[in-house]
């Protein structure tokens, strides 16, 4: 077979993709892992992982580098920071074309492109990223010493990060679209009892305002429709995640109404030889442990498909 042919191509090199790669390569399959970004996926975005069994505490970066090293040591080929131009999933031999026109073929494909933080997609969001808008409290919190900020969101991340940002900010306003939070009770309690935190409920941000940097926001009260403006130095956005499945939306791959990939217990999708693993799947619990489990199961299924077991 040509050097561009693999038993399995894995799309996404996060916890799920790297695990699938490790299991496939140890099963003597040839494997190519393709990733549009940095290998490690969301693990790299995680300062500290304390709930991965067997590893007392590790930075997400360290954990992902160990997984990458393991995958490489078993023989996986890995390409990061690539762009996929075309993807053909239904034929017996699957095909992936990259933006540099190189073409890779395989017998099986494992989709493991994970998820990403949702953006608000409102006016000014791109312009002020890094100039007042942030998605990482631990990275950028210290730029907001004694400043007033808004945290957008009402889940665990939003409330926990809002509390952690009170170390720096003089005042933190949590802005949320509902009249209640979707977080654990202890996280809500901690935020509510913090004297530096106040709340704007049942509201949506509608616009970011500023010249060189963020100076203010407009927001709409969803009950009354009233639009208000507020001067602010920073906005941190934690409004959940969405599956990275844009690339499959016009393909034969079945997606659910949230654009996640439904699978059966063996991680099989609706297309023969195509498996899905990790956060892009339709599932309730999205963690490193569950991504690793999905990757393992998908790889075992793919090995059976490759060797006709």
């Amino acid at each position: 077979m040509s050097e561009n042919y693999f038993d399995s191509i894995i799309i996404g090199g996060g916890a799920a993709g790297l695990t699938a790669g490790i299991y496939l390569a140890r099963g003597k399959a040839s494997v190519l892992i393709l990733d549009t970004g940095t290998i490690g996926g969301q693990m790299v975005l995680t300062h500290q992982i304390a709930n991965y069994p067997g590893v007392e505490e590790s930075s997400g970066y360290q954990l992902s580098m160990t997984m990458k090293k393991q995958a490489e040591s078993f023989g996986c080929a890995i390409k990061s920071n690539i762009q996929i131009k075309n993807l053909s999933l239904v034929d017996e031999i699957k095909e992936v074309e990259l933006s540099d026109n190189s073409i890779f073929r395989s017998k099986t494909i494992i989709l493991a492109s994970g998820g990403r933080s949702r953006m608000l997609n409102i006016s000014g969001e791109k312009k002020f990223k890094g100039r007042g808008i942030s998605y990482c409290a631990t990275c950028d919190g210290d730029f907001f010493q004694d400043k007033e900020i808004i945290v957008v969101g009402g889940g665990n991340s939003a409330l926990e990060e809002a509390v952690s940002l009170t170390k720096y900010a003089s005042k933190v306003t949590i802005l949320h679209e509902f009249d209640h939070f979707q977080a654990f009770e202890h996280a809500v309690e901690e935020a509510r009892s913090n004297p530096k935190i106040d709340f704007i409920m049942k509201s949506h941000l509608t616009e970011f305002i500023g010249d060189q940097k963020l100076e203010g926001v407009k927001y709409k009260n969803l009950s009354t429709g009233e639009i208000s403006a507020k001067n602010i130095d920073g906005v941190f956005i934690f409004i959940g995640y969405e599956a990275n499945t844009e690339m499959f939306r016009d393909s034969e791959l079945k997606l659910n109404k949230w654009n996640e990939v439904p699978t059966n217990d063996m991680m099989e999708t609706n297309i023969d030889g195509v498996y899905a693993a990790g956060d892009l799947r339709q599932k309730r619990v999205r963690q490193v442990t569950t991504a690793v489990a999905d990757g393992t199961i998908a790889a075992v299924g793919a090995l059976g498909y490759i060797y006709g077991a």
């Binding site: 790299v44 920071n81 100039r131 007042g132 990275c139």
Partner: protein
Amino acid sequence: MVLPTNLKHIASASEHAEILKDHENVMVCCGRMGPMCLPVYDIMGELQEEYKHVEFRDMAFDNPEAGVIRNIPEAGSFMGLPFTVYYKNGKVVAATSSIQTKEQVKEILDREF
């Protein structure tokens, strides 16, 4: 004080000045070992092969000598790590704040160098 990355580092203001004097095209990423910075170091590491006419360096944001980057006027409105600065003949030609994609970095490298 240097970052534990695979890139070449800048450890002092004088080293920074020397690199700008000795090289026409320089890209410096000034950050920490945090989630928004690591992908940019990774992208720079990969682009080194392709852009041999560019010097790629990092510098630790918390190094007191990194004032040479933190305090440039172009970074006056920056509030997100890393600060990434592109120099041509010693002059700043572009600067970005926070995480960037490979496409965004390449767009600047192709445009400026």
